[in-house]
Structure formats: C-alpha cells, structure tokens
C-alpha cells in the first residue's frame, strides 16, 4: 500500500479529523504539540472504565485483578515498543517532563558533586533543560551546552570538545521539536560512556515517529510522552537501565512504592513500582498500550518511511515559497516532519491565526525552546508538524493559506 493510501485509511480511525474549523475541513498540523487519538485508544479507555475499573495492586477481587493485569501488560507492551530488555525497566509517569525530572532528581541530585559537569545541547525543550539547570545549580555542578550548526544540526565537534573527564551526564534530545533534527545519539552515547558519563535521552519527539531500540542506542535513560504518540494525556514513561534504577533512591514517596513500613523507616517495592508512588494513571496506561498496539500494527519503519515521503513534499513546497525562511535541515536526512519557519515581515502569531481561519492548525511561538530561539536570533517561528494521517493535499491547503497570509500583509 502506498503512503497516501495508508494515510487515507488511517484517517478513518480518527474521529476529530472529520470536523470542520472555521468552515473548512480541519488540517491538523500541530502534531509535535500533541497528536490526535484513534478510536482504538478512546475505546480502550471506555472499555476499562465501563467494565473493569478498579485500583491496581491492592485488591483480591476480580476487577482489581483484571485492572492490575492490564496495567502490567501495558508496561510490557511499552517495553517491547522500545526493545527494553525487561519490562521492569519501564516506569510510567505523567509525561516526558516528569520522566526527565525523575532522572534529574533521583539520579542527578544524589550523584552529582561540586565541580562535576552535565553536557546538554542548545536545541533542548525546556523540559530537558530547566531540571538540569536547577539541579546543577543546587549541587554546584556546571551545565555545558553543545552548539548547533548553520543548517540546524548538532555541532558534534563542539559537543565532543565539551565532553570531558568531569562530564557525568550527557542529556540530549533524540529529535528536536523545533528543527526536526534527529541527533546521532548512538555515536554520542559511545563516546560519553568512554569518559564514564551516563546518557539521558529525551525521546518525546522521536518515539512517535521512528523505531526506538534502547539497546541499540546504548543509552541509560529514555523519556517519552504518550500523548504525542496517539495515547491519552497524563501518561508517559521513563525507560532506565535496571542496574541504575535499582541503585537509585525513589523520586516520590507514598503508597504503592513501598515494601514494608515502620514508623521510622521503610523499604522500597521492586521495579518499576518503586518509582510509581500513589495510585497511577491506570486508564492512561491502558490507553497508551492501545496506542502502541496501533503503531505496532502499522510498523514504526513504515511510519517513519511514510512521514519522510510527506516531509520531502512539504520541504519542497515550503522552500519554494517566496520570503519563507526554514529553520533546520533542508533535506530529509536524519530529520522528522517538524518544519519551523518564518515569513519575512510577518509575526508567527499572525501566520498561525490566519492559517486557523482556513482550518489549518499550526503552532507559533518559541516552542518551549527559548535558548534555541535566542541562538537563532528570532523571537519565534510558525511550525508545521506532520503525522501519519496527514496527506499531500493537506500540505497544499497549508501552502494556499500561506499565500493568503502574504496577500493580507502585502
């Protein structure tokens, strides 16, 4: 089946894609912010709430047993999705932000010493920047930033130049939510491990769009948000190497995460529950499993290939558009369908507003990456971000709407 056919078929599963916005059929191009949900995910949530809603780990009754099993199965499905050696290495969190904070607090705050260095990049989302900024300040460690190149890729010379014997953590995004760049994390991880640093990967933007294999990547932690990969909001996960997770103290304390409690001390539950304090987002986990099943059925290789085809088409159209500046790689090599741009003399908000009048949903602003905006010397961009259900016709509609933008500001 061709990619366009695949997109047309997939679209049938997404009820929201049938709606109109401002009297135009919706073109949803804000997938980097969050993706739409297929019926299969919505149905999984409904089925859980209507037939076996119960708290997990705590009851002997039938519903509790079913909910517990489903919630564990969800961890197993996610583990297979990223090729984790053990499902006990999958910790469910609210989102990638919480996953990254978990590592920064439970590993960083305890392990970093004054004078240690943490190395990150100038293309990070605030969620992989601010936690490390705050933790390094608290412990008196340094935070170093690898620069980007003119074509919006990671400057590897700069990065490896800043990788020193003092570097204890290398933390970076697998794919940029502004530039679309996919970073060579495998190569970086190998070099980082040579100096004894651990490697933390923000895969919030990558996991929905390309196959992820944590063993092949050779990293130590990987953070993902469910809502960016067709799952519900409020559920995400952290994958971590078992020996590191075992060695770490918990992040949050309370119910579910304990083994035995005395008035003055406690012992911790086994992985992954040690890191899942309190009643978890059970429905969210079950919904995430349905999303993973949906993507698995299509195959992540296929998802990646079809998005590359559409990205090539969109790149060609945007690069030919008069007065448009595109930020990020101009070809599809090591790149996702996240297309940030500005139009000369027109504020990104105005672009997004006028596109919305034509039913085209795009994001504008700094995309939670203010240091990157400063580095690029701009206040913000408009951003088109694609997913599996988008089509070349929708790209054409966006380009037509961009022409309207130009007419208004002529």
């Amino acid at each position: 089946m061709g990619c366009t056919r695949l997109a047309q078929e997939v679209r049938q599963d997404f009820p929201v894609l049938q709606r109109k916005v401002n009297n135009h059929p919706l073109v949803y191009f804000d997938n980097a912010a969050t993706t739409q949900k297929p019926r299969q995910v919505i149905e999984a949530l409904r089925h859980y709430y209507e037939t076996y809603n119960a708290n997990v780990h705590r009851g002997v009754h039938t519903l509790a047993a079913q909910a517990t099993e489903a919630y564990e199965e969800a961890h197993k499905a996610v583990a297979r999705f990223v090729n984790a050696p053990s499902w006990r290495e999958i910790v469910f969190t609210r989102n990638a932000t919480e996953s990254l904070n978990l590592v920064a607090y439970a590993w960083g705050l305890r392990r970093l010493r004054p004078g240690d260095r943490v190395l990150t990049t100038l293309m990070e989302h605030h969620s992989n920047l601010v936690p490390w900024q705050q933790i390094t300040r608290r412990v008196g460690a340094h935070l170093d930033f690898a620069d980007i190149t003119e074509d919006g890729r990671l400057d590897l010379d700069d990065l490896f130049g800043k990788l020193t014997e003092q570097t204890r953590v290398v933390t970076l995004t697998l794919a940029s939510n502004v530039l679309g760049t996919v970073n060579p994390v495998k190569e970086i991880a190998r070099k980082a491990h040579e100096v004894g640093a651990i490697v933390v990967v923000d895969a919030a933007q990558a996991a929905p769009h390309m196959p992820i294999d944590v063993q092949d990547l050779g990293v130590d932690f990987l953070a993902v948000s469910g809502h960016k990969m067709m799952g519900p909001t409020g559920i995400g996960f952290l994958w971590g190497r078992e020996e590191l997770l075992e060695d770490m103290d918990p992040f949050l304390y309370g119910g579910e995460m304990i083994h035995e409690v005395w008035p003055d001390r406690a012992t911790w539950n086994e992985l992954p529950w040690k890191f899942e304090a309190g009643t978890p987002n059970i429905a969210g986990g079950i919904g995430l499993q349905a999303a993973v099943a949906y993507l698995d059925r299509i195959g992540m290789d296929r998802v990646e290939a079809c998005e590359r085809e559409l990205t090539a088409y969109a790149l060609e159209k945007l690069l030919a558009f008069p007065g448009l500046t595109l930020y990020g790689p101009k070809d599809t090599r090591d790149r996702l369908g996240v297309l940030s741009f500005t139009l000369e003399g027109i504020h990104p908000h105005d672009i997004a507003s006028i596109l919305d009048l034509h039913g085209v949903a795009v994001r504008s602003g700094s995309h939670c990456a203010q240091p990157l905006m400063r580095r690029l010397g701009i206040e913000g961009t408009a951003r088109i971000s694609l997913y599996l259900y988008n089509t070349p016709e929708e790209v054409d509609r966006a380009v037509e709407a961009l022409q309207k933008v130009r007419e208004i500001f002529r």
């Binding site: 504020h347 990104p348 105005d350 507003s353 006028i354 009048l357 504008s364 700094s366 206040e379």
Partner: protein, 132 residues
C-alpha cells in the same frame, strides 16, 4: 473571509502605519513588558504636564494585534488625564479594537494596556486581573 476575521483594514493600517511610534527622551513615566511565550514586547514613554499626558510613544515588536492595539491605545490616551488611564478597563480597549478577540489572542491585545497602567502607577508589572 468571514466575519470572525481579525485582519481587517483598520487593524492592518495601525500595524503598518503605527501612530505614536518611537521613544521619548527623558520621559516622565515609562514601562515595558512582554509575553515571553510569543515574544511580543512593548515599551511606552510618557510626557506628563499638570496630570495630563501631553505626549506618549510606544516601541517594541510583536504580532499585528499587539502592535495595532498599542497604536490605538496611544491615540486614545494622548491629551487625557492620567486618571483616564487608571480607569481604562480591558473591555474599553477591546471595544476600541473593534474585532473579535478570542482567548488565544487576548494576551497580545492587552499587553499595551498593561504597560500603560504599569507606567502610570509606577509599577514593574500589572497583572491580568488588574485590567478587569
């Protein structure tokens, strides 16, 4: 386009040909503020005589709505007593803009009023709820 269009002629005119744009030397009152999320930024300078605004200029950058709103606001307040600015409410400015402002653009539209009030009250920042 339909009647929900905010890119109407008078707004685009204020954006392309802003009134009272610039800065004042030795202003009696001045303030600046921004919306960090979208990058809108406005500064406003005032010359005041006997409690009246004898001159006002705005500078900065941002989207059409934020800049047109600043231009319109300066026209509204020039020559008026300072008390006039203190009493201005969010709805007064929205009415003067004369276009439907949805929740996503409200911050853009009201930035200029926040800056004007901050200047007049001698505050660092004015909160959204102070415009109600």
């Amino acid at each position: 386009m339909a009647d929900f269009d905010i890119y109407v002629e008078h707004i685009l005119d204020h954006y392309k040909n802003p009134r009272n744009r610039g800065t004042l030397e030795n202003p009696d009152l001045t303030a600046r503020d921004g919306n960090p999320l979208c990058g809108d930024e406005i500064r406003m300078d005032f010359k005041v005589k006997d409690g009246r605004i004898v001159d006002v200029k705005f500078s900065g950058h941002g989207c059409t709505i934020s800049q047109a709103s600043a231009s319109i606001l300066t026209e509204m307040i020039k020559g008026k007593p300072l008390d006039y600015v203190k009493q201005l409410k969010k709805d007064d400015l929205l009415e003067a803009l004369g276009i439907p402002i949805g929740p996503t653009r409200l911050k853009c539209a009201l930035l200029s009023l926040k800056v004007a009030k901050a200047a007049v009250y001698g505050l660092d920042k004015v909160r959204d709820e102070d415009l109600e």
